[in-house]
Amino acid sequence: MIHTVNKSPFERNSLDSCLRLSLKGSPILLLEDGVYAATSGTSVSDKIAGAAKDHPMYVMGPDLQARGITEDEVIDGITVVDYGGFVDLVVEHGTVQSWL
């Protein structure tokens, strides 16, 4: 199973619920407004960095780019993927749970 989060952690609790209800080791992909969680220097950065120790964490590059976030600003341990990478993750991990 792969989990996706598409809401900003500053507006919604989608990411918190995802972290509470995902098994250790299951991958998490941040996309759309969810990518704001991947930036360093925010009030949630430490939480995300901690979560990245328990989960393979990915972030959608095109969504970062669209929002003016450079890859240098992405928290260490989070892998930037493109749409092809998203497809590969879904093929590899099967069932998707979208935290909307």
Binding site: M1, R20, Q97, W99, L100
Partner: protein, 142 residues
């Protein structure tokens, strides 16, 4: 014109579905859309875990009355689903496992308990619910 009869063979395809409700009932359309999918799932006799997390728990809270806001009170439909579930549980010929689950942390955060819901629910903590979620074949979220 062809007189070939088309046969659809869907018998025997039964998957484990989970429906994840995380939105309160009337502010957005998510809750009603998930409910529509649950009903389709019942028609095809699929296995289903209907889960209520975060504000989704408000969907099945007792005492809803939408008359004054001109919207359909669909919490009653969950009452019917619960009755159908009981029938399916008792029918030995029917291979359809249904569960209605609320997340313990979500109801506690909202000052609710198992008695506050219009249907009988299983109250399950997040760590155990994560295990159940990971076992599913199809997850539909709202």
């Amino acid at each position: 014109m062809s007189d070939t009869e088309i046969e659809y063979d869907t018998e025997g395809v039964v998957k484990k579905f989970m429906y994840v409700n995380r939105k309160a009932p009337y502010g957005t359309i998510y809750a009603l859309e998930v409910l529509e999918a649950v009903l389709i799932s019942a028609a095809f006799e699929q296995h289903a875990c209907i889960v209520f997390i975060d504000d989704g728990v408000y969907q099945i809270r007792k005492g809803q009355d939408t008359a004054a806001i001109n919207m359909k009170n669909f919490s009653k439909t969950y009452g019917i689903i619960a009755m159908e579930k009981e029938d399916a549980d008792e029918d030995e010929d029917m291979d359809m496992v249904w569960r209605i689950i609320v997340e313990k942390e979500s109801i506690e955060a909202r000052g609710l308990s198992a008695d506050d819901f219009i249907v009988e629910v299983e109250v399950i903590a997040s760590a155990d619910l994560a295990e159940i979620m990971a076992e599913q074949e199809v997850v539909i979220s709202g």
